[in-house]
């Protein structure tokens, strides 16, 4: 049942974080005053610019480093980043698009059964840690894949990590974990 579950599980990538550099100094005040959809944060020293077409929020620093978040795929992230660079070009800065790199990927997945977090953490110490006072999910860190999985008691998972980039890897993550779940699945999961 579990192998069929693996294929049936849909892992949806919900967030891709990427950074790139414009290789030129940016005047944040100009951007803030001449752009629509911008939020200027002078205390921190950055401008938040939101794009609509790929739904992307970008943090722009005056050094020319930009972080792009909110894209749902790697390509979308790249497109959004290029759009942003084009926008900055139009504002008059000599922008060069360089060092584009996807830094983090977040995916969401849902198990058809509920998970007993306490037993789960007991059996998987110290890889898994659960602190109900701090966060309702148990955190499971896979070292060799360099990914973090947050397990909620409803059975939903949040997988975070750069290694998620290739589709193959996301399945690897889930396959990695399924044996643990088999141990801890509650009966109720089977009823439905």
């Amino acid at each position: 049942m579990d192998s069929s579950n693996d294929e049936a599980l849909d892992i949806i990538i919900t967030n891709v974080v990427a950074t790139f550099r414009t290789r030129c100094h940016l005047n944040l005040r100009t951007i803030a005053l001449e752009g629509t959809n911008v939020i200027y944060k002078p205390e921190v020293g950055k401008v938040l610019m939101k794009l609509r077409k790929p739904m992307i929020t970008a943090s722009i620093w005056s050094s020319g480093k930009i972080i792009c978040t909110g894209a749902t795929s790697e390509d979308e992230a790249k497109l959004g980043a290029r759009r942003l660079a084009r926008c900055l070009q139009k504002l008059g800065f000599k922008v060069r698009f360089s060092a584009f790199k996807v830094v983090n990927v977040l995916a969401v997945c849902s198990m058809p059964f509920a998970v007993n977090l306490i037993n789960f953490t007991k059996n998987n110490r110290p890889i898994a840690s659960y602190e109900p006072e701090l966060h309702p999910a148990a955190t499971y860190r896979i070292k060799n894949l360099k990914a973090t999985i947050q397990v909620f008691s409803t059975g939903s998972l949040t997988v975070t990590g750069i290694s998620l980039l290739t589709r193959l890897n996301t399945h690897r993550h889930i396959k990695y974990l399924t044996p643990f779940y088999v141990q801890l699945r509650r009966h109720i999961g089977l009823r439905d």
Partner: protein, 610 residues
């Protein structure tokens, strides 16, 4: 009183040094005694017994040895150690209590605690809400009946656990709900507000827990039944049930939609049948018009297209459909004007009718936007990679939308200036100050410190081994004379005095990072050989001299001797600059030169200082 607890370890260390405890046991003790004081203070506030505090101290020592205290505030680490003891011993202390005492964000403490637990491989057992009940019950002042109320509350909590309400939730919330119900059961009036103050959860959380409990079958039992009987049936966790409900609702929606579509389809069929019937019941068109009615489409469209001056291809499917829909009306229009003679005349009315019924801009405007959208999407599919900014897929006109026009810029500028006037004032003042200082020639450029780089711990038996290994790690000059390093010797009397002086020159803000800076100053004032070492090396030699006769507390276990007290000239002039990364190198070299040892030369790395 609370401010004291956030003292960095270095400040306490200073106090320690001033006391001149030269006979303290070796190694980590230097950091341990101030930590011990900390722990005692906090422990007393939490009313922990001595045994717990000793265990906490042991945890702290383990953390020290594993270098987990580096880069973290000492008070955070201490709090984490104390909390660890609370968890392992099962005392009813919450992380929230600790954060209240220390005035630190609970999540920050939590993070430190998690790191410590992971590194020290301490498996803290999961929090049981039952642990908190007696504590909260006492605070709620039930008098003689405290015990009974606690028992009831305990039963309630256990029931909640069996009903899976406790996974993923804060244990204090559950306790609050249980105590509220238990109090009511025993005729005590405890308001929600009182409970919230003690339990420290939000009112809505409490209410939610109560509703969830209400949903379980246990809530239907009477009081006596509840005390006696324990229902076997277990419940799903409430979020799971909620999730199931959602799923069901979604499925229902889908089904309804399907049914709607079916119904619509049926209606459509009926409509078509009716239309067909109507058409057939209408008087048949005469021959000319029959031909006119049939092979119509393109001619009509071409006429329309010609009128609007566009190509036939511009008219998209939508427009065609619209035209088709108009056709029944057109035919009626044609019938009305059957009397008219010529073909073109007949065409004209239909055109007029057409134009009259359809707003002129609509079809073409629509088709324009549709075509632009279609072409736009095609552009976006191609995403070629190149070094420079690749403009493929980027519609410039869209990007223009992201930029304001000149007028708008002016308005926005005015608004922004008005809103951020305080910030702008501060900036101006800052600039004025800097300009003044520059004019006076005492401008000190303060660059914000970058984060301390985390170095892997070096295991070495002797000081020189440690140095060698470190030098391998970091690309520092190989021209350092190790023999001289071996001869480092601290003169106990001299060094504390020097220490006393140098901190004065230290910048008033004793940041934790300052700990790394001070050795550089002190070393400069005290020794030549160490001054040749790079700033990075100096970070490893935390308190080499400050330990006076104490050997290093770091992995360098061998007596790390001391430093040749150098009655060198005015190194203190450079003290202000020492805070600066680049200028440290500069002072290193200048000290070298001052002392006339030219053997070491200048490393390429240190050219930035110039």
């Amino acid at each position: 009183m609370e401010g004291m607890f956030c003292l960095g370890c270095d400040d306490l260390l200073l106090k320690h040094i001033h006391r001149k405890e030269t006979n303290s046991p070796p190694d980590v003790c230097l950091f341990v005694s101030p930590a011990k004081q900390h722990i005692n203070i906090v422990g007393n506030q939490l009313q922990m017994n001595q045994h717990h505090m000793d265990t906490a101290l042991n945890f702290y020592k383990m953390a020290l040895i594993k270098h987990l205290t580096r880069g973290r505030k000492a008070c955070h680490v201490i709090a984490a150690c104390i909390y660890m003891v609370c968890r392992t011993e099962g005392t009813p202390h919450m992380l929230l209590d600790l954060s209240d005492i220390l005035q630190v964000n609970v999540y920050v403490l939590g993070r430190t605690f998690l790191v410590l637990a992971r590194e020290l491989c301490i498996n803290a057992p999961a929090i049981d809400p039952c642990l908190y009940i007696p504590r909260f019950a006492q605070m709620l002042e039930f008098g003689d009946k405290t015990r009974e109320v606690s028992m009831t509350a305990l039963r309630l909590v256990q029931r909640m656990k069996r009903d899976w309400m406790h996974t993923g939730r804060r244990p204090s919330g559950l306790c609050g709900a249980a105590l509220l119900v238990a109090a009511r059961l025993h005729d005590f009036r405890r308001t929600v507000k009182e409970i919230i103050n003690i339990v420290k959860v939000c009112e809505s959380t409490l209410r939610k827990r109560l509703t969830e409990f209400e949903d379980t079958p246990t809530s239907q039992l009477t009081i006596e039944e509840f005390m006696k009987v324990d229902l076997d049936q277990e419940c799903d966790p409430p979020c799971y049930t909620a999730g199931l409900k959602k799923k069901k609702a979604q499925q229902l929606e889908i089904e309804i939609k399907k049914k709607m579509d079916d119904v619509e389809g049926e209606i459509q069929e009926y409509q078509e049948e009716i239309d067909a019937e109507l058409e057939s019941s209408r008087p048949k068109l005469r021959g000319v018009y029959a031909a006119y009615a049939k092979g119509e489409d393109e001619d009509e469209l071409r006429a329309v297209a010609k009128h609007f001056g566009k190509d036939l291809n511009e008219l998209t499917v939508e427009a065609l459909i619209k035209l088709e829909q108009k056709r029944p009306e057109d035919e009626e229009g044609n019938q009305e004007q059957e009397e008219d003679g010529d073909f073109p005349q007949r065409k004209a009315p239909s055109l007029a009718f057409l134009l009259g019924s359809m707003p002129s801009s609509a079809t073409l405007g629509l088709s324009e936007s549709i075509s632009s959208c279609v072409t736009d999407e095609k552009e976006n599919d191609g995403a070629a990679d190149s070094g420079e900014l690749d403009l493929s897929g980027i519609n410039d006109s869209e990007i223009e939308l992201y930029l304001l026009s000149d007028n708008e810029v002016k308005i926005k500028t005015a608004l922004w200036m008005a809103e951020n006037s305080t910030y702008l004032k501060e900036q101006k003042e800052k600039e004025a100050k800097i300009a003044k200082e520059k004019a006076l020639g005492i401008y000190k450029e303060r660059k914000p410190r970058g984060p301390n780089r985390k170095h892997a711990p070096i295991r070495a038996n002797t000081a020189d081994e440690a140095i060698e290994k470190m030098l391998e790690q970091k690309r520092i000059s190989s021209k350092i004379n190790y023999d001289v390093l071996k001869d480092l010797n601290v003169k106990p009397c001299a060094s504390p005095a020097r220490k006393a002086e140098s901190p004065k020159k230290e910048r008033p803000a004793a940041k934790l990072a300052g700990r790394n800076r001070r050795p550089s100053q002190t070393q400069l004032s005290l020794s030549t050989p160490l001054s040749t070492l790079g700033k990075r090396l100096q970070q490893y030699f935390l308190f080499v001299q400050i330990g006076s006769s104490n050997p290093l507390p770091l992995p360098v276990e061998a007596p790390a001797s001391g430093v040749v007290v150098e009655s060198g000239p005015v190194v203190y002039d450079d003290v202000p600059g020492d805070e600066e990364e680049d200028e440290e190198d500069e002072t290193c070299v200048s000290a070298l030169e001052m002392l006339g040892s030219n053997d070491y030369g200048c490393d390429g790395d240190y050219d930035d200082g110039f």
